[in-house]
């Protein structure tokens, strides 16, 4: 199946000379949830802005549903809903009007039933006649999501949707995202909260310095880059790592009460058996052993750190 969004060799250089995107290529499959991770200024928002039509690309092409976003902008933008990072709202409008306005802008005939449903899904319906300036930040965020969903998009972009959002809203939002995914909507989100990407995404892309460093299925990524950590708690503290164990890349923690051993789960040999044997031979008595899987965050930090 052809990808719903296809980005090829995208370059964006701003008038200031700053190159926000350097030759980015990326395919997004229909119905998937893609999380884009990257530090501030990595190019996430520029990439989304170009796909949505807010920023003109310097070179390269973007296809959405097979249509070029510049030449055939009507077709592409009709398919896309965008929730921007900034809380930008018409302060003096009511919730109902601003959401209906978005639907109209996208060329859709008024459909109060749909607007009502969107507002109810986002627990906004009782606020429908409130002016936006009367709403809290979290409520405004919901309104922006409602606006993006007002025209029934096939692709939804959520640019840092949970920045400054409380736990309840975050949960509500992921419920909505889950529901949308069931109806086949493709969702692209950028986030700082790596655990979110870990929890919700099918695929994870890491972007930094205007380049896509990696884009993979989340489980493959976890497997591939996934490292595990073996923690060995000792009966008696060790002042230093004994000579006999120097070939293992061990770290000492808790004033010598624990030894930490990093190993790669995908490796042929993890080295655990020989390490434990060596420990026994050195006469070191163990109190406890535990292992920890590295999180996406560790992977991310490692990746961005290594290539920065």
């Amino acid at each position: 199946m052809a990808p719903i969004v296809s980005v090829s060799n995208l370059v964006k250089t701003y008038a200031s000379g700053f190159q926000a995107l350097k030759d980015v290529s990326l395919d997004i499959e229909e119905g998937e949830i893609l999380a884009l991770l990257g530090p501030n200024g990595a190019g996430k928002t520029t990439l989304i802005s170009i796909i949505c039509g807010i920023v003109n690309p310097s070179s390269g092409t973007v296809l959405v549903g097979g249509h070029d976003v510049v030449k055939d902008f009507r077709a592409t933008r009709s398919m896309i809903g965008l929730v921007p990072q900034e809380l930008t709202t018409d302060q003096f409008e009511t919730v109902w009007n601003t959401v209906s306005f978005s639907r109209g802008l996208h060329g859709k005939k008024p459909n109060p039933a749909h607007i009502e449903k969107v507002l109810k899904d986002l627990s906004l319906f009782d606020k429908k006649d409130n002016m936006l300036r009367e709403l809290s930040g979290g409520m405004k965020r919901r309104v922006l999501i409602a606006k993006a969903l007002s025209h029934e998009p096939r692709v939804l972009f959520l640019d840092e949707p949970t920045a400054g959002v409380d736990v309840n809203l975050r949960k509500d939002m992921w419920k909505v995202v889950e529901k949308l995914r069931e109806t086949g909507v493709t969702i692209i989100l950028t986030t700082h909260y790596i655990e979110e990407a870990e929890e919700i995404a099918d695929r994870v892309g890491v972007i930094n310095g205007g380049k896509i460093l990696l884009i993979e299925q989340k489980k493959d990524l976890m497997k591939k880059l996934g490292r595990k950590q073996l923690r060995i708690d000792l009966q008696e503290p060790l002042p230093a790592i004994p000579e006999t164990l120097s070939s293992y890349d061990l770290k000492i923690e808790d004033d010598g009460h624990s030894l930490i051993y990093d190993y790669d789960t995908s490796g042929e040999r993890t080295g655990i058996t020989t390490l434990l044997t060596a420990l026994a031979e050195a006469g070191i008595r163990l109190k406890d052993i535990s292992t920890r899987q590295s999180s996406l965050e560790d992977i991310f930090v490692e990746l961005v750190g290594a290539r920065a």
Binding site: A15, C52, R74, S78, I80, T88, L105
Partner: protein, 253 residues
């Protein structure tokens, strides 16, 4: 053509007019009434007729033009500047609307609002002075053309402006002198020859003169020339707008 979008923008803008009724309708009516009281009744009673028209009636077309120009520029510029200022412009730019549709919505609403207020001023004028319109269709033509042209001018200012200072620069600093020196309150024929010649470089003179001709058949310049000048200005603005759309100037960096 995304008609739903044009309609949405248009009614969205018109709704703002309703919300700010006091500021957008009542205040221009009050200020124009003051002009009629001061110039028409107080000062005007001591001024003889100009070209056979009472002074109060003579200044009416100029006052309507003054309101129409400031209102249309103000509405046209604010309508597009405000979303830029608040950031909601993201939605406009990511919607399946062409720039033509954006212009139709914003400029249409700005012109409508300007004309509504212009007509209210005309009605107000009727309370103070005896008015007759010799050529209603020509009057309407000048009225609509001016409203559209200057709303478009405002729209371009709104796109160009980077802050409120720039936004207000032209409507507050450029338009009033042009209107006042464009023969709103006098016939340029009353000026010494040198200043008459200078006045002819003022584009607003042509608007007011043509508009006044449609009321009283008196004019400082030939109404056909007035018409041509508006059309020329409109054409320049259209050219500028086409360039703005092509380059994404100050909208799609």
């Amino acid at each position: 053509m995304n008609l739903e979008a044009v309609k949405s923008i248009y009614f969205f803008e018109m709704a703002r007019t309703r919300r700010t009724l006091l500021q957008s309708v009542v205040s221009p009516v009050i200020s124009t009434s003051l002009y009629f009281i001061v110039f028409g009744a107080a000062v005007g009673s001591r001024i003889q007729e100009i070209d056979g028209v009472s002074y109060g009636a003579f200044i009416t077309p100029g006052l309507i033009m003054l309101t129409l120009l400031t209102q249309c520029i103000g509405n046209g510029s604010f309508g597009i500047y405000f979303p830029k200022f608040t950031g909601t412009v993201y939605e406009l730019l990511s919607s399946p609307v062409s720039m033509t549709e954006i212009v139709l919505g914003y400029v249409g609403a700005a012109a409508t609002k300007g004309m509504m207020i212009g007509l209210i001023i005309l009605a107000t004028a009727w309370m103070f002075v005896d008015l007759s319109i010799a050529h209603p269709f020509v009057m309407l033509l000048f009225f609509v053309l001016t409203a559209v042209t200057f709303s478009l001018f405002g729209f371009i200012i709104g796109i160009w402006a980077k802050d409120f200072e720039q936004l207000n620069l032209i409507p507050m600093l450029v338009i009033p002198p042009l209107v006042f020196l464009g023969g709103s309150f006098y016939s340029v024929n009353m000026l010494p020859p040198f200043w008459q010649a200078v006045s002819h470089f003022n584009p607003v003179l042509y608007l007011i003169s043509g508009f006044r001709w449609s009321f009283f058949e008196i004019a400082d310049v030939n109404p056909v020339v007035s018409f041509a000048i508006i059309i020329a200005f409109l054409a320049v603005l259209m050219g500028l707008l086409t360039w703005i759309f092509k380059t994404g100037y100050r909208l799609r960096n």
